[in-house]
């Protein structure tokens, strides 16, 4: 076994001897002999390296395929079907691809990366609001630039700047795209206060990893955005700059358990000229996932609460909303979840909606999942309903990262 490695230096030494330049210059005729000797040596070395006996060979290829400067592209389809009973909306059964999303992600240069998300969505009727509000026309897909932003990577002092149109850093789930959530419908708190799609505006955001003596993850994010014209809390104003501050704290309780506590404050003008809406929210997420065999069992519990203070010329409304979601992984591909929603409204704290949901998720692979959700909904001032939602989400193209 030891003879082979010893052979290589020996060969090198031997060939060096043969390569004595003086000799080559002096005796030209020796060159042919020398060449054939070199060839013989080379052959022997080749045999030594590729022969069956040697233990130190490495087979395989060192070339890397598929390198191009194209961004990572992926397409996500979301097929959402629902059936609703006791329903006042026009349709009780809705079938159809609710959204197709195309994403492009890449580094721009050594200083920044860029993310683009284009969505083709179809309005899905909301049994909480009824047929009059949503004005959904089935089959109509609207293209929308969901997000398009640049993120800096090389700013000093642990700062990161985000410029463009992006999902705001509100609470725990606003930054997630809907297909990444463990349920088929957005919690009522988000729908009623931030809109059916959540908060996504154009502007700038500056985030800072706050150094602290305890060494835990603490991120402060400040965003100034504009364009929330159809936002239920802030919409309709010409002076609609939104100011948002988010503090995220993340703790490792143990190797297997983590705790995230987020605080968000937001302020902006509402429809009534010069009047403001202020929103404060808190989110708490507990995750348990064993490090070893981490794909078989896990538990996630998220609770978010929101307090809104909205004043216009007629009145001041203080309202609240919250939801809590518990998701337990019962087997490698199966998840069982439950969610409770309670929500008042930005301009009305006398009425409220409630909803109970139970969700069974089947995550076939990393690229396909099916969710079956039962919901008992109690809309404000209307009859309670039962709803079944089935959602199939599938991805092709580049493999994305999984946000924790």
């Amino acid at each position: 076994m030891r003879s082979r490695p010893a052979l290589v230096p020996l060969l090198i030494v031997t060939s060096l001897v043969f390569y004595d330049p003086a000799k080559i210059v002096a005796q030209k005729s020796d060159r042919a002999v020398q060449d054939s000797l070199d060839q013989a040596l080379e052959k022997e070395m080749m045999e030594a390296l590729s022969g069956t006996d040697t233990s130190f060979q490495m087979t395989g290829s060192t070339s890397r395929s598929g390198s191009s400067t194209n961004p990572r592209i992926s397409v996500i389809g979301s097929f959402l079907s629902s059936g609703t009973s006791n329903n006042a909306t026009a349709k009780t059964v809705d079938l159809g691809l609710s959204e197709a999303e195309i994403s492009f992600q890449s580094y721009v240069d050594p200083y920044a990366k860029a993310d683009f998300f284009v969505g083709f969505g179809r309005a899905v009727e909301d049994p909480f609001t009824g047929p009059d509000k949503g004005a959904a026309k089935s089959g109509d897909y609207e293209a929308d630039l969901e997000e398009a932003y640049l993120t800096t990577l090389s700013m000093p002092f642990a700062l990161q700047l985000k410029v463009g149109k992006f999902r705001g850093d509100f609470g725990k789930i606003n930054q997630y795209h809907p297909h990444g959530l463990g349920y088929a419908d957005l919690p009522r708190m988000y729908v009623n206060y931030l809109g059916e799609e959540g908060l996504a505006d154009r502007g700038v955001g500056l985030s800072w990893l706050v150094p602290n003596p305890l060494g835990f993850y603490q991120e402060l994010n400040v965003e100034i955005t504009s364009g929330a014209l159809d936002n239920p809390s802030f919409g309709g104003s010409s002076d609609n700059l939104l100011y948002l501050g988010h503090l995220k704290n993340f703790f490792d309780v143990s190797d297997h358990t983590t705790l995230e506590l987020g605080l968000t404050g937001m302020q902006g003008a509402n429809g009534d000229e010069g009047r403001k809406t202020k929103i404060g929210s808190g989110d708490l997420t507990l995750k348990w996932k064993p490090l070893r065999e981490n794909r078989y069992r896990s538990l996630e519990w998220t609770t978010e609460a929101l307090f809104s203070h909205r004043s216009d010329s007629a009145k001041t409304v203080k309202s609240v909303a919250f939801y809590t979601f518990l998701n337990y992984q019962i087997a490698k591909r199966w998840f069982l979840g439950g969610r409770y929603d309670y929500s008042q409204f930005p301009d009305n704290s006398k009425d409220s909606e409630k909803a109970y949901s139970g969700i069974l998720g089947f995550y076939a692979t990393e690229f396909q999942k099916l969710e079956l959700q039962y919901q008992r909904g109690f809309p404000a001032g209307r009859k309670a309903f039962n709803r079944i939602l089935a959602r199939l989400v599938f991805v092709i193209g580049a493999h994305g990262a999984h946000q924790y």
Binding site: M58, S61, S65, S154, F251, I396, H399, A401
Partner: protein, 313 residues
């Protein structure tokens, strides 16, 4: 007063010297995705570096969670090393982007893809859009290359180059360490091969396709996988076909990674004479595995014990 003035230049020089020596003694902070890389980096970097790993050795390298707390450990790193080949695609990009550390961004001196120049096995050919139909296939080739000790030398050379780029003044020191590492790997490879030589050609079953580099180096033959396709859990039908295969070919051992459920392997073991052999995929998978050398010592000993026994069986 005058004497104080006189001392100012001396104090200044002393200050510079202290500052400089403090700088010179500052260790290069290396954070790696997997502990094998940290182990090799420590070997090559010696006492000039401090190498730590994000993932633990008993974790599935494909599915480490991108916890924000890992970003804090990356924030101060001088060098980040990943296995590459999209093995860590689900978590490393989030951590590197979130670390707010310009030094370790891809393309810079502080980012190293350890797979550079490593000869790879199982590079898929044909239409890449059909790959996912074959399960979790890596487009660049099988990424578990560190399980061949000889490829560990390529990793070490890559780390050496990265360290020299960061601290050219310590080149000779790193070279000495690299040569020592290579020498030890060669010596130990010969020993490991010799130990496993009597078992050359032994047929085994594996759970996931983590082992092509290990089995090629040591001459073992994986006949089938418990996963019908990479990442896809076994069906009853597939298990039945494995039971038949084990019986027909008299296969004695089923090797499994530390992070997979042993349920299906146990069913196979129960129905046949085969035994389950848990091998280590990374440094730290077991308490006794503290270095890259320990990793192979452990796996070779496990294989010799288990396969040797089943051969006599």
């Amino acid at each position: 007063m005058q004497s104080l003035n006189k001392n100012i230049p001396a104090t200044f020089v002393l200050f510079l010297f202290v500052a400089w020596s403090g700088y010179a003694q500052k260790k290069i902070s290396i954070v790696t995705s997997l502990p094998d890389l940290a182990s090799i980096a420590q070997e090559v970097g010696g006492d000039k570096v401090e190498a730590t790993s994000i993932a633990k050795g008993y974790q599935d390298p494909h599915f480490v969670d991108a916890k924000p707390s890992y970003m804090i450990s990356l924030q101060k790193a001088d060098l980040f090393i990943e296995m590459g080949l999209d093995l860590e695609i689900g978590w490393v990009p989030l951590l590197v982007d979130g670390a707010r550390n310009p030094a370790i961004q891809p393309g810079g001196k502080g980012f190293l893809d350890a797979s550079t120049g490593v000869p790879l096995l199982e590079i898929p050919s044909g239409d890449p859009t059909k790959l996912r139909a074959e399960g979790d296939i890596h487009v660049y080739g099988n990424p578990h290359y560190w399980l061949d000790p000889q490829r560990g030398k390529v990793i070490a050379k890559n780390i050496f180059d990265a360290l020299v780029a960061l601290r050219p003044e310590n080149k000779d020191y790193f070279k000495k360490n690299l040569d020592a590492f290579d020498k030890k790997i060669d010596e130990k490879t010969a020993v490991w091969i010799a130990k496993l030589a009597p078992l050359k050609g032994t047929k085994i079953i594996a759970f996931h396709n983590s082992w092509p580099y290990l089995t090629e180096r040591f001459g073992l033959q994986v006949q089938a996988f418990i996963e019908p396709k990479p990442g896809i859990p076994p069906t009853p039908k597939h298990l039945v076909s494995l039971i038949k295969l084990i019986q027909e070919q008299n296969i004695g051992s089923i090797i499994i990674e530390p992070y997979y459920s042993k349920k299906s392997a146990e069913i196979l073991a129960e129905k046949t004479n085969a035994q389950i052999v848990e091998l280590a995929t990374s440094v730290g998978a077991e308490k006794s595995i503290n270095s890259y050398f320990d990793l192979f010592d452990y796996n070779v000993n496990r294989l010799v014990d288990a396969l040797g026994k089943s051969a006599h069986h």
